[in-house]
């Protein structure tokens, strides 16, 4: 079993993380995926997986979180992207195929993908 080695890897990660975690949790990017029955049935798990792979592939550090049903079941899978000092944008009916463009335009180019967005929420995150 590679378990012992794996736990050592965790210790290393912890050391690295402690140096810069504060900065990242306060000013970083948060991606939120709806994971209620409605979201799961619509493919939210695979969308989450695609997001994790895309972030790793492009070496982007962003927090990914899952939440329960928020009541817009017909629009699932729902993905919210929140960045410091910018409005939180909600995207609807996201598929794994859409993830690459979503990450590129929203996170890298800094522009929300208007035709997929269904709402925006003002946020005070990161504003002093």
């Amino acid at each position: 079993m590679p378990k012992i080695k794996s736990l050592e890897e965790l210790r290393k990660i912890r050391e690295d993380a402690q140096k810069d975690l504060r900065i990242r949790t306060e000013t970083g990017t948060r991606i939120i995926v709806g994971m209620g029955t409605c979201g799961i049935a619509a493919g939210a798990r695979d969308v989450m997986h695609a997001i994790l792979k895309e972030l790793e592939h492009r070496d982007i550090e962003a927090h990914v979180e899952t939440v329960g049903c928020i009541g817009m079941c017909a629009k699932e899978p729902l993905v919210d992207i929140e960045q410091a000092g910018k409005p939180r944008v909600t995207y609807a009916n996201i598929t794994p195929q859409m993830v690459s463009r979503l990450i590129e335009e929203h996170l890298i180019n800094g522009r929300a993908v208007q035709e997929w967005a269904i709402g925006r929420l003002d946020t005070t995150k990161g504003i002093q």
Binding site: L7, R14, Q18, L21, M35, I40, R45, L52, H63, E65
Partner: protein, 185 residues
Amino acid sequence: MRELSLHVLDALENSVEAGATRIEVGINEDLKADRMVIEIADNGRGMSKEFVARVLNPFVTTRTTRHVGLGLPLFVAAARRCDGDLVIDSEPGKGTRLTITFRHSHIDRAPLGDMPSALMAILLSERPVDLAYTHRVDGREFQLDSAEVRQELGDIPLQYPKVRSWLLETLCEGEASLRASNSND
């Protein structure tokens, strides 16, 4: 749902909604006995006997009893069409245990599917919850307890990108080791 792992994810989401802080997930595939048993035990708020009796009926569940909806009736149907069943053992204030059985070789049994992603969806939940996962296939076994991982990490959250990658990788490797026909362990 096309994969059993999606039913499992849905049941785990119920546990999270029920306020669970620790969920034990066991998948036992006994190919000789031709059985597959999935067990999900949480320390959430639990359900009354009356509620358990109603929870499998999709038309009785009300929207205000937020932590169960269509999910469990779908899971029951998936088990019953494979010579299996879903049994709920629950006590208010203590928690809930689901035991779901299948005939392993049944033609209608959906594949287990992508368990690592299903578990990740819960480990990345905004509400901190620990998963103790055990998957057995005949003699082989893979185990991961996120409480042990958290202990190593101290105050670093599971959502931290490098930890997240480590978790997904560890889960994928573990599941792959169960599929390997010639294990060196």
